[in-house]
């Protein structure tokens, strides 16, 4: 039999339901493998002992009607977890232990999931390589000293390394899809308003969205079904009828119209990305989809728009970390001095950079030129998609303009780092669902992903297209366990 840790979530659930594997056996396998994988630096906080204990409790009183019966799951450390330290990858929350649970994680525990641990991420989810985390770099299991993407880098790494059967990340500008693309895994950002933001450490409130990360498309559909819910505690949560994503999952996408936006053919895009995209189009055709050329004319404004809106919201969202109530407090001569020292020591470079950008664009005299303008452009970007969706059901693009890069390669060049998000940010600005699926490899054998963008609340179509293409692409990660002694 295959190792438990390399099973898909679907297979694992099946085995547990058929009592071939107990929850505790599963938990032990993932804990053991995680223990041997410390070099990847995926965990910020381990919950191993408790996970083993809870899995035993599950086995003593199993409930196989649940959607995640006794399944151990590690989650990004941006989700607040009751009585388990939650750091958001930041020194300023190094000692923070919430007394409450995020809605998304609560949904997982309600369906039988068990917390395995909290996964590393870029500080406050600001980054595309996991290098901004206070808790250090995360290794991509694909190859040594390769970034796992970000901000959900701990999640993508742990998933690709089989340290957790599935995981959840958050995606503000690509933080689920880009790391999925870098690690040969699947990452879905749902429609804004699908998954509650309650209890998720906020980065940019109008863009943040939690979503599943998994080894295959079916697993994402199972997890999405669990985490997507209307929540009165989040005023931006939307009460729409949610599908049974996994049972409605189908490879029959015949006649579905897929748009190819010409504006995504950006200057300097490597040939291998261009080729991947072409291959993707062929795969989609093979699945029975109709390919239509479309235009999203405001695409080139998406990145600058994003880098105004997101830092603006972040600069305000992060004002609460002031040393007064919780988290790090440095001593100071006065209140202002305490603020300055706490925030200087508590926040890393990238977070400070974005707070400064955000403060600047909201300042009186600059607000109209930056923030207000950006909001207007955001509406235009949204309109582009609305118009495209009059013609097509979904849109196919590359997930990222490059494959994973080396640790340290871009850490001193914020703009080149920001360019990583060029294909993913428009989706957040428009609040749409988008998935990244592994679709090929570059010359170094590093994974490359394709992105499928859907209509609002139409995660099902996105999943169905991804599910069909996945079969044709037939991508398999080749993980060598190089990090184990």
């Amino acid at each position: 039999m295959t190792e438990i840790t390399s099973l898909s979530l679907f297979e694992l659930i099946k085995n547990i339901k058929e009592k071939k594997i107990s929850s505790n056996e599963a938990a032990k396998s993932f804990v053991d493998r995680s223990e041997k994988s410390k070099k990847l630096n995926t965990y910020v906080t381990e919950n191993f002992e408790n996970c083993l204990k809870l899995s035993k409790e599950f086995d003593n009183k199993p409930n196989f009607d649940l959607k995640l019966p006794g399944i151990p799951i590690a989650v990004k450390d941006l989700f607040c977890t009751n009585e388990v330290r939650t750091t958001a990858g930041s020194n300023i929350l190094n000692n923070f232990v919430p007394s409450y649970e995020s809605t998304v994680t609560q949904n997982i525990w309600n369906e039988g999931g068990i917390l395995l641990g909290k996964l590393n991420c870029d500080e406050f989810a600001m980054g595309s390589s996991n290098e901004t985390s206070f808790f250090g770099n995360v290794q991509n299991p694909i190859a040594k000293d390769l970034v796992p993407g970000g901000s959900s880098g701990g999640s993508s790494s742990a998933l690709a390394a089989n340290l957790t059967p599935v995981t959840i990340g958050t995606d503000t500008g690509g933080s689920i899809r880009q790391p999925a693309s870098f690690t040969g895994t699947v990452g879905l950002k749902p429609t804004y308003g699908s998954c509650s933001r309650y209890g998720i450490v906020a980065f940019a409130s109008s863009l943040d969205q939690a979503g599943p990360m998994s080894k295959d498309v079916k697993d994402s559909s199972i997890l999405l079904e669990v985490i997507s819910s209307f929540d009165k505690k989040d005023s931006t949560s939307i009460d729409f009828k949610r599908n049974n994503y996994s049972s409605e999952l189908t490879r029959n996408i015949k006649g579905i119209k897929i748009g190819i936006p010409k504006e995504y053919r950006v200057d300097g895009m490597p040939d291998e990305i261009e080729n991947l995209w072409k291959k993707g189009i062929e795969y989609a055709k093979d699945c029975g989809a109709e390919i239509i050329d479309i235009s999203l004319p405001h695409t080139s404004y998406a990145l600058p728009t994003y880098y105004i809106v997101a830092p603006a919201e972040a600069s305000s969202n992060l004002a609460r970390y002031d040393g007064v109530k919780y988290g790090l407090r440095s001593s100071g001569e006065s209140l202002i001095d305490m603020y300055e020292k706490t925030r200087s020591e508590g926040f890393g470079e990238e977070v400070k950079r974005r707070i400064m950008i955000g403060t600047y664009v909201l300042s009186s005299g600059y607000y109209d030129a930056y923030y207000l303008k950006a909001q207007k452009v955001r509406q235009l970007i949204k309109k582009d998609f609305d118009e495209a969706y009059n013609k097509v059901d979904a849109i196919l693009t590359p997930s990222t303009p490059s494959s994973a890069f080396k640790i340290g390669e871009k850490s001193n060049d914020p703009v080149s780092m920001y360019l990583n998000d060029i294909f993913t940010v428009p989706v957040n600005l428009a609040g749409l669902p988008g998935i990244s699926i592994p679709a090929g490899r570059d010359k170094n054998n590093y994974p490359l992903g394709l992105q499928i963008i859907g209509k609002p609340f139409d995660e099902q179509t996105v999943l169905n297209i991804a599910y069909s293409m996945e079969e044709k692409i037939n991508y398999k990660n080749n993980i060598t366990d190089w990090w184990m002694e």
């Binding site: 607040c80 933001r197 931006t236 007064v324 300042s363």
Partner: protein, 491 residues
């Protein structure tokens, strides 16, 4: 310096200045829970016992609008005869302070829930209309306590997140007396509506006062100074007088007035600069992405309109029309909702043969005096409206005299006793039997023959002496009207 109620003028070197005042009143919304959380708003609880995770701005916590507070703001807007906006937006006002847990206050900046309206002031010179610029909803901050611990500031977050209505007036006020009338009228309207208890001691009503001066007759506004967070009408008036004179002095010395924020020092009775315009905070307002724009339908507004009780202006009109009392009396009776309620109950209990004059006099005279003396609200009056109505009816139907009524009134206060019972138990019923009174008077005239003669010779003052004697002889119970009649006849 000259002064009347509706103008405050300052004379310097032949120049006459008038003061122009606008108020930003912060009124705490009457609501059991806070604007964006379910924590209690009860005043006076132990520090930090009414604080939710949202109020303390824990990571990942999100605001959820309290619909009741929205209704309260709309009702207040209706009471101010103002436009209710179908769409309003919550913005973040960003600044750092220890008692502001989020690092921003959720407020409404560009799109407030309530637009322009007005308030009518009853001034001795007549009515004056004061324009309302806007009303918006916002969160209150917590409280920093600097004087308990010698080396630390302590923070109490009980107030953090409590709903406030900021009511901004137009610069229509011209004197401290108008400010007094304006605050009292606002308070009255909100108390009628049940949207703010108006309790200034508990901080439920505070104001930022904008003051400028200009040569009387000029139409251009002068440079204003804003005096922050003044929490009593008296202090507002003192601050305005100080500030207006300070500004006039500066102008007369040829100096410019800096637009700035000032504080009123209640001990020294002076305003002091807090920060100049250059140092003004850049609040970096932007729409709160955690909250959707607030959309209010016309049906919703109409529903709330139908729930609005009779407000002071309408009540006053009705009192005048229905009860034939004077405008002055009506103004006093409607100024506070509990007074109006009390009065209306007295009127109702008096029944058909009611005497409005007596009712008004007894409430605004004896009853107000007692309440003032004992510092009691009329809602907790020691004499119920029902029993006061009975007392008034006893006077009206001649059972007791006004003088005896005052004695009975005193006795009634000891546990709200029915005046009828006091009259019976103490035998205080008025003597109205003409024959008995005639006999009594005959005796008095007989006993005071010399004085009776003097009276007849023209010493009319002595009439009072005979009345007094008669009242005394009857133990105060004689019907004074009858005594007068009989005496006139007999003397």
């Amino acid at each position: 310096m000259s002064k009347n109620n509706s103008e405050y003028l300052i004379e310097r070197n032949d120049n006459i200045y008038e003061v122009v005042i606008g108020l930003e009143v912060h009124a705490q919304v009457t609501s059991n829970s806070k604007l964006f959380s379910s924590s209690s708003t009860k005043f006076g609880a132990e520090p930090n016992t009414q604080v939710s995770l949202v109020d303390a701005a824990f990571p990942g916590m999100l605001p959820v609008i309290n619909e009741y507070c929205v209704k309260q703001a709309i009702k207040t807007g209706i009471g101010l005869k103002a436009k209710i906006n179908n769409k309003s937006v919550f913005d973040r006002k960003n600044y750092f302070y220890a008692d502001l847990p989020q690092g921003y206050q959720i407020s409404q900046y560009k799109y407030p829930i309530v637009g322009e309206g007005n308030v009518i002031l009853d001034m001795p010179e007549g009515q004056k209309q004061v324009g309302i610029e806007r009303l918006h909803l916002e969160q209150d901050a917590g409280k920093s306590i600097h004087d308990i611990d010698p080396s630390n500031t302590l923070v109490d977050l009980n107030r953090s997140g409590v709903a406030l209505m900021e009511i901004v007036s137009k610069p229509d006020l011209r004197s401290p007396d108008e400010v007094n009338a304006y605050i009292k009228k606002l308070r009255s309207i909100m108390r009628y509506l049940g949207t703010c208890d108006g309790n200034m001691q508990e901080g439920s009503l505070r104001a930022d006062v904008n003051v400028s001066v200009r040569i009387k007759g000029s139409t251009k506004l002068g440079t204003r100074c804003e005096i922050k967070n003044v929490n009593s009408i008296k202090f507002m008036q003192m601050a305005i007088i100080y500030e207006a004179n300070r500004q006039v002095d500066l102008i007369e010395e040829g100096e410019e007035i800096d637009q700035e924020t000032r504080l009123f020092d209640t001990k020294k009775n002076e305003t002091r600069s807090m920060r100049s315009k250059e140092d003004a905070h850049d609040y970096r307002y932007f729409p709160d992405p955690d909250l959707l724009p607030l959309k209010i339908t016309d049906e919703f507004i109409d529903q709330l309109k139908s729930e609005i009780p009779e407000l002071p202006d309408d009540k006053k009109k009705r009192f005048i029309d229905e009860f034939k009392i004077s405008s002055y009396e009506a103004t006093i009776l409607v100024s506070d909702i509990d007074t109006a309620k009390y009065f209306e109950e007295v009127v109702a209990k008096m029944g058909k043969n009611r005497d409005m004059k007596l009712a008004v006099n007894w409430i605004t005279g004896e009853l107000f005096a007692v309440l003032n003396n004992k510092n009691i609200e009329i809602a907790h009056s020691p004499i119920s409206a029902k029993n006061l109505a009975k007392l008034i009816n006893l006077i009206k139907n001649g059972t007791i005299s006004g003088k005896i009524a005052k004695t009975i009134f005193e006795l009634m206060m000891d546990g709200d006793i029915d005046p009828q019972i006091i009259v019976e138990e103490k035998g205080l019923k008025q003597q109205s039997d003409p024959k008995a009174l005639e006999a009594l008077i005959d005796k008095i005239i007989n006993d005071n023959r010399e004085k009776a003669i003097e009276y007849k010779q023209g010493k009319e003052k002595l009439f009072g002496f005979f009345v007094g004697q008669a009242m005394k002889a009857s133990g105060g119970k004689a019907n004074p009207q009858l005594i007068n009649e009989i005496l006139k006849k007999k003397l």
